[in-house]
Symmetry: C2
Subunit: 294 residues, 2 copies
């Protein structure tokens, strides 16, 4: 199967799994459930689910088990976007080509949507996973929580808030992104590997791969934000510059940021070498992330 | 040990356990961690931890295991208060006698504090609990998630939002509170029982007890909101009436609401009868909740 076919298959099964995990739109409280579905379904490249499935495929993990892990990570990601877009945060009106959740519904509803989507992630991942030891599943829940919380993604948001209007060194910018974007991307990769009962040495190696991919993803995002149009992105372009946020592009310049992306991709490929052919999907995903910009 | 001594002991150990579970105040991102601690520590009656320990004591559960379950529930409760107080929700400035989190810090920080406290709850409860089967611990995580999410507490908030300015029947008000307050109180009781490896029939009975206590708690809260002063409550008094929110007091009147509370207490006691003396702490807590008003 070629990469585009594989990718599209994972995206479709992720959509179905999210659709099934989210409460039905008619179920009370209907407006909240409608808004949760609005925020999650029918959009997004599903990069984290793709990484989760790709990592799991190295170890022959069961696809249905991978679906559960993949959508748990995606629900955390979706909650963070809804809260990020709120007026007290980035105050954004456009996301995935549609009005943001608080614009389409209202601010209070968007707040509850984010809250309930986070809970839904932990609810989904605490359903018994067939063929996975319960102790390992607890480890997976713990991993997702640590990656999402104040020492992971939410902490990264806090650092980001504090950085607006600041001059950051490249090391400080990296510290921010390792938390804000990197932690959840790392969780996606490691959860996928856990679904295949990966051993500690493989988990350690995949953790190193994920750290590079997390930074790569952010560098590429910064390049896209600087270069692409709002129509292409489906979200407001140029907003980092407008909000005076530090980015790789404004610290390094576009050309140097592209060099950094190439180097990170190469590093990521090298880390995967010992997995051989079994890691083909992760190789392809690293390329795919970079090729969004070049 | 008499009830006040027992209660104060549980409150103290809950405070210590929360203190230990929350990230240290100096740890980066320091402002977020400081705000998380501000929102959780040094206040609150810790009703949910008390219920959790009381339920666990029926089955001789280990106190340290109960601490983990108790603070997980309390962290969910604390997150909900921080988000409830935000300008787009209840827009409140006073909580537990102190400025609310978004007043003391800022709105974006308070949003992240709530988010990260929710995550912290699941992080805490996914640490391996000694002496509890991993499969049961997964059930406990699932129970907490269901109780907190769109079909539990967060759903109750959404119903509450929709009810502002509406005339509700008593059955609709009950439906709202079963979700908004009741679901988490029920989780506190059931998690405590799970810590003592309670069997399904005991869990079912405690679920019925908890449903009554949940409503009891809300009726008493409504009476307090109508009768007490802001200084006594440590939060803004009379705000339900000011916000034109339906309450038991404005549907039933104070006197009838007090009758309802007495009846719920009596029912709660009767449900506990088969547990005999082992349920003394739950009996005392039912009385304690009512006696806040009489």
């Amino acid at each position: 199967m070629n990469f585009p076919t594989w990718m599209s298959g994972i995206q479709q099964r992720t959509e179905s799994a999210l659709e099934a995990a989210l409460p039905a739109p008619g179920l009370a409280p209907a407006r909240l459930h409608e808004a949760m579905r609005y925020a999650v379904l029918g959009g997004g490249k599903r990069v984290r689910p793709l990484l989760c499935h790709a990592a799991g495929s190295i170890f022959g993990a069961d696809s249905r088990v991978l679906d559960a892990a993949a959508i748990a990570v995606e629900l955390i990601h979706a909650y963070s976007l809804v809260h990020d877009d709120l007026p007290c945060m980035d105050d954004d009106v456009l996301r995935r080509g549609k009005p943001t959740c608080h614009v389409q519904f209202d601010e209070a509803t968007a707040l509850l949507v984010g809250d309930a989507l986070q809970t839904q992630a932990f609810q989904t991942l605490s359903n018994r996973l067939e063929g996975i030891a319960a102790t390992r599943q607890l480890d997976m829940l713990h991993l997702l929580a640590v990656a999402s919380g104040s020492r992971g993604m939410a902490g990264g948001q806090a650092i980001d808030l504090a950085a607006v209007g600041q001059q950051l060194a490249i090391s400080e910018l990296e510290f921010m992104h390792i938390h804000k974007t990197g932690a959840l991307i790392r969780a996606a990769v490691l959860l996928g590997a856990h679904c295949g009962e990966a051993q500690p040495d493989a988990l350690e190696r995949l953790g190193r791969f994920a750290n590079r991919i997390g930074l790569l993803f952010q560098v590429v995002d910064d390049i896209l934000d600087a270069e692409a149009s709002t129509a292409t992105l489906g979200k407001t372009a140029g907003k980092d510059a407008a909000q005076n946020k530090p980015t790789y592009v404004n610290i390094l310049g576009v050309s140097e940021a592209k060099n950094m992306a190439s180097k990170l991709r190469q590093d990521a490929h090298e880390v995967l070498a010992p997995f051989g052919e079994s890691a083909v999907r992760l190789h392809e995903l690293a390329d795919f992330i970079v090729e969004r910009t070049f």
